[in-house]
Each structure stands twice: as structure tokens, then as C-alpha cells.
Amino acid sequence: MTFDGYSWLKALHVAAALLFAGGMLASSVVLAILMRVPSHAEQFAVAARRYDHLVTVPAMLVVWTFGIGVALSGSWFGSGWLNAKLLIVVVLSGIHGLQSGQLRRAAAGDVVETRWSIPVIMTAIVIIAILAVVKPSFR
């Protein structure tokens, strides 16, 4: 069996992306529940924050690092689909930063308002999957 570095990079990038997306959706769901049912909010928020800290943040860093590695080794930089995907990942990472702050705030006992993150994250994940697999040409 020969070592195929590109496939390994891509496999680890996809694995990290799944963990990142799952963690982001989990945080969104926790925040949405806490907004409607504020009792015991601190404990839930502390647990969600711990998961975010231990799994989602490292997964995001791996997504970025290995994603850049895959793009470089596959010479994908400059492709329209990758530019679109990069833009969406930047937005997703931004939403993650916002949610990370909201979780901290909820863990400290504050009520946090969040209404739009779940549909936005789900739509972003679907678009990213299509862009990465189909690689549509924008010309």
C-alpha cells in the first residue's frame, strides 16, 4: 500500500469539518433551548462551552490548516468553487466566534438571544458539501 498524502489530508479535513459542523449545530441548539427554557441554563451552558473548547475549536483549527493543505497540494486556489467555499467557511467561523462568546455569557447566567444561527449553519453546510463534491464551474 502506497502512502497517498493528498487523500489523508482530505480525509482528515473532512473528519474535522464534520466535527466542526456538528459542534456548531450543537452549540446553536443549546443556545436556542436556553433562550426558551432558562432554568438550569448555567450548567447546560458550561457543558456546551467545555465541548466547544475541547472539540469544536480544535476541529475548526484542523479544518483551516488541512483545508489550506488540501487546496495547496491539489492546486485548487483560484478556482471559483473554492473561493465561494472559503467565503462560506469564513462566515461559519465568524458565527462560531459569536456563539462561543454567547456560550460564555450564558455560562455566567445571562440570557442570550439567538434566532437565526441554526438555519444559516445548516444552509452553509449543504452549500459547502455541494461545492466540495460537485466543484461547479462559475465560468
Partner: protein
């Protein structure tokens, strides 16, 4: 309460501002006047990463309710202007001193 977040943001602002100055004031002139492009090839991605980290940390503090909307927008705009990170750092230091990292905004 969230002072550590603000301190991290101040550090990220310093790194983002320094890499922007290195890129715009040294690497870009070297490329176009001195015809030496490796500086931009190195500093471009380094600044890009520093900018993304700064934006992520800024949004984290916004999510934690540490900034009014106007100041959050200013902190983002300052990241695009060379030498304006000094203003960002001043704003962050003021928030550490006055707000003490307490949640003050929705």
C-alpha cells in the same frame, strides 16, 4: 469577568496591526519598487491568518456582550487601516480598565 478574552483580543489586534504594517509598508514596496515578490508571498498569508484570528476573537467578545455595536464596527474597520490598530488597542485597554470584562451590552 471576561478580561482574558479582552486581553487575547488586544494581543490579536497587536499582531494583526503589525503584520498589516509589514505587508503594506515593507513587503508591497519591495515587490513593486524593488521587484522582490517573496516578501508579499510570505506576509500575505501571515497577515491573512492574523486578520482571521482577530475577527474571530472580536466576534467572540461581541457575542459575550462586551461591546456596543458602534465600537464593534469601529474595531473591525480599524483592522483594515495601517497603524489604526493603535486605536483598537486603546479602545480595548479602556474596556479592560473601565468595563473590567463585565457584560454591558446586548
Amino acid at each position: 469577568m471576561h478580561v482574558m478574552m479582552l486581553r487575547r483580543l488586544r494581543l490579536a489586534s497587536m499582531l494583526e496591526g503589525s503584520t498589516l504594517i509589514l505587508l503594506v509598508c515593507i513587503a508591497v514596496p519591495l515587490k513593486y519598487v524593488g521587484e522582490w515578490p517573496p516578501g508579499v508571498r510570505l506576509m500575505g498569508p501571515v497577515h491573512g491568518i492574523a486578520f482571521l484570528v482577530y475577527c474571530w476573537l472580536l466576534l467572540q467578545t461581541v457575542g459575550a456582550g462586551l461591546w456596543p455595536r458602534r465600537e464593534a464596527v469601529l474595531l473591525l474597520l480599524f483592522a483594515f487601516v495601517p497603524f489604526a490598530s493603535a486605536l483598537s488597542m486603546k479602545l480595548i485597554e479602556r474596556e479592560i480598565r473601565v468595563g473590567g470584562g463585565e457584560v454591558r451590552y446586548l
